[in-house]
C-alpha cells in the first residue's frame, strides 16, 4: 500500500509513511493554523456523524479558551456542543458512559495540567472497559487537551504529561505538529473504536500554518512522519519540539555538513517501533527530544526501542534533550527549561563527534 492508500484505508502502516518535506505551498492551496485545523476537524466530525458530541469547560458559548471550538455551538446547537460543569472526572467519566450508550463524545480538558482529576477515569476505566466487559462495551471516546510550554501561561498550565497516558495499556495517544495532522488525527481518533487522547501543542496553535485538505483525510494512528531525511543522525520528536528539531537539523547541515533526519512520532501510544528501528539502523546516531522531564520520560522508551531494534548499528550513545528533572517553572524561566534548537544542535554535535 502506498501512504495515501493507507491513509484512505485508515489503517496503521508498519513503518513511517514517507511524506515529502513540507514545501512552500503552491498558490491557491488553502492554509490554516493548527488551531483552525482542530476546529475544522471537530466540525467535520460533528457534521459527518450525528453521534458525535463535543463537551467540556467553556467549549460552548465561549468557543473554548483557545477558540478551538469557535462557532461550533452556534452551528450544531447546545445539545451537541456542551458547556459542562467544572469537573474533569465527570467530563471523562460521563464521556465513557456516553460512548457506552452509543454516542461518540469528544471531550476537552482545558489544559493538560488539569487532567489529573480525570486520570482515574482514563486509566482505570476508559482504557479497560473493553477488557473488563469482555468485549461487551468499548469506550470510543476522544479526549483533547492543549499541552506544553512556551506561551507565557500561568503556573501549572504548561505540563507535558504524556507518560501517564502512554503507560496505560488500552489508551492511544496522538500529538499533531502540523495543521493537516491536527485535523487528520482528530478524524482518525473519532473513527477509532478505542479511547484516544489528542494532545495539542498550544505553542503551535497559532504559530504554525499549513495546507489542510478540505475533505476528511484521516491521519492514521500509528505511523510516524518523516519530516526530513538524513543519513548521519536522527532526531525523534513530537508536537512543539518538531520545529526546533528541524531548525537544529538545518543548522547541523550548514555548520557541520551533517545530514540529520527528523522524525515526528505523532502517535505516542502505540509508538511506531518500525520507524524508530529503521531510522536508528539507517543513521546509527539517535537523539530524542521532549519537553517533559528526563527521568522516565517517553524519550527513555524511544531510546530503549532504538537499542532493541538496532543495537549493533548504533555508532554513538543515544542521547536525550529534555526538560530537566524539576517542576516546570513559572513563565519567566520557561525558555531556559524548554529544549531549543541550540540545545538540540549541541547534542547533535556530540553525537556526530563520537566514534
Amino acid at each position: 500500500m502506498t501512504p495515501s492508500e493507507r491513509r484512505r484505508a485508515g489503517t496503521a502502516a508498519p513503518a513511517a509513511s514517507r511524506e515529502p518535506l513540507q514545501r512552500a505551498e503552491a498558490p491557491g492551496r488553502r492554509e490554516l493554523t493548527l488551531l483552525q485545523a482542530v476546529t475544522e476537524g471537530l466540525a467535520t466530525a460533528l457534521a459527518e456523524d450525528e453521534r458525535v458530541i463535543v463537551l467540556g469547560e467553556d467549549v460552548g458559548k465561549n468557543g473554548g479558551v483557545f477558540r478551538a471550538t469557535d462557532g461550533l455551538q452556534e452551528r450544531f446547537g447546545p445539545e451537541r456542543v456542551v458547556d459542562t460543569p467544572l469537573a474533569e472526572s465527570a467530563i471523562v467519566g460521563a464521556s465513557i458512559g456516553l460512548a457506552a450508550a452509543g454516542l461518540r463524545p469528544i471531550a476537552e480538558i482545558q489544559f493538560m495540567g488539569f487532567v489529573y482529576p480525570a486520570l482515574d477515569q482514563l486509566i482505570s476505566h476508559a482504557s479497560r472497559l473493553r477488557s473488563r466487559s469482555r468485549g461487551r462495551y468499548g469506550a470510543p471516546l476522544v479526549v483533547r487537551m492543549p499541552y506544553g510550554g512556551g506561551v507565557r501561561a500561568p503556573e501549572l498550565h504548561s505540563e507535558s504529561a504524556e507518560v501517564h497516558l502512554v503507560h496505560t495499556p488500552g489508551l492511544k495517544v496522538v500529538v499533531p505538529s502540523t495543521p493537516a495532522d491536527a485535523k487528520g488525527l482528530i478524524l482518525a481518533a473519532v473513527a477509532d473504536p478505542d479511547p484516544v487522547v489528542v494532545m495539542e501543542p498550544m505553542r503551535l496553535y497559532r504559530s504554525v500554518k499549513g495546507h489542510v485538505p478540505e475533505e476528511a483525510v484521516p491521519t492514521p494512528i500509528g505511523p510516524a512522519r518523516v519530516v526530513r531525511e538524513g543519513e548521519d543522525a536522527v532526531v525523534f520528536c513530537w508536537g512543539a519540539m518538531v520545529p526546533p528539531a528541524l531548525a537544529a537539523a538545518r543548522l547541523a547541515e550548514e555548520r557541520l555538513s551533517a545530514r540529520v533526519a527528523v522524525v515526528d512520532l505523532r502517535t505516542l501510544a502505540p509508538l511506531d517501533r518500525d520507524a524508530i528501528g529503521e531510522w536508528a539502523r539507517r543513521t546509527g546516531r539517535v537523539l530524542v527530544v521532549h519537553e517533559a522531564p528526563r527521568t522516565a520520560g517517553l524519550g527513555a522508551e524511544v531510546l530503549a526501542i532504538a537499542q532493541e531494534e538496532a543495537f549493533w548499528h548504533l555508532r554513538a550513545r543515544p542521547r536525550r534533550v529534555t526538560g530537566p528533572d524539576a517542576p516546570f517553572p513559572y513563565f519567566s524561566l520557561e525558555d531556559w527549561y524548554l529544549p531549543d534548537a541550540q540545545r538540540i544542535l549541541a547534542a547533535l554535535e556530540e553525537t556526530l563527534a563520537e566514534t
Binding site: N62, V65, P85, L86, P117, P154, L156, D325, A326, S332
Partner: protein
Amino acid sequence: MTDLRRVVGPAGEPLHPDAVPLAVAKALLRDMIFLRAFDERAVALQRQGRIGTYPPYRGMEACQAGAARALAPGDWLLPTYRDHGAAMIHGLPVVEALAYWNGRVESYRAPEGVHVFPPAVPIATQIPHAAGIGWGLRLQRSQAAVLCFFGDGASSEGDFHEGINLAGVVRAPVVFFCQNNGYAISVPFRLQTAAATIAERAPGLGVRGERVDGNDALAVHLTVTEALARARAGEGPTLIEAVTYRQGPHTTSDDPGRYRDPEEMARSGLGDPIERLTAYLRAQGAWSEAEDEAAREDARARIQAAVAELEAMPPPEPRDIFDHVYGAEPAWFSREREAFLAGLSR
C-alpha cells in the same frame, strides 16, 4: 435574593447599623480602596507588557477584604489565583503578588509567621488541604483557624465534596469561603449546577451553611468572624457562600463580550462593594472627602513602591528552576543541575 445576609443595603442603607463598629467599617473601606487600586494597576501593567496574564478580582473586594480581615495573625489563608487581594490583606507583601503574576518563581512569599498558602491553580485542590491544616491544628490543640477561598466553579469538583465532608467528620476549624461571582470563566452559575445555591450543599456535607451578600463587606466580615469563632470553639467547619459578581474578564486573556450581557451586573442588584460601603459611611457622617482622598493616596504610594521593587528585581536565573525542589537535595539532582546549566552556557 432575599435570603442573603446583609448589614448594608444595595444603595448603602444601614440595615443593622450596630452590627459592625464604624472603625472596622472604615478600615474595610480603606482596604477595599487599596485592593481596587492594585487591581486597576495590575491590569494596566499587563496591558503594557510589564506583567503576564492577570486575573482581576474587581467587584469582589468586599469578599476579599471582609473575609481576610476576620483572620487573626496566626491563622491560615488558602487563596486561589484570584485571591491575592485577600492574601495581601493577611500580610502578603504587595511586590510578592506582582512578581507572581510576572512569572517569577521567587514570589508569593509571605513573611515568617504569616500563613498564606501558594495560590490554588488547579481548581478546588486547596479544599482538602484546608481540611488537613485545620485537622492538624486541632490535633495540636492550636487556637488557629483556617480560611479557604474558592469559586462557584470549584463547587463542581470532587475535591470540594471530599474536602468539606472530611473536615466535617474531624471537626476541623475551617471556614470554606465560596465567592460565587456568577461565572467560571464563561460558564454561568445556572449551568454549573442544577441546585439553586451553593450554601444548600452544606447540610448534605454535614457542615453548617451560610449565604451572604458578597458585595456587603460588613456582612461578609461578620459572617466569617462568627464562623471562625465557632471553628476555634470546636464547633466544626462552616461553608459560606458569598454572592458577588466578577466585574472584569476572567483574566486579561478573556473576552466576556463573547458570553455575557454588559447590563447583567446592574441587574444583579448587588451594586459595587466600594460604592456601597462609601455611601453607608457617608450617610453616617463617618467618611469625609479628605479621608477618601487620603486612602487613595496611601494606596497609590504603596502600589507605586511595589512596582518599583518589582522592576528593580534582578533578572531571573536558570539556576532558580532547581531551587527548593527538595528539602534535602539528592546528589544526582545537584549533578543534573550543574550539567544542565553548563549545557545552557555553551
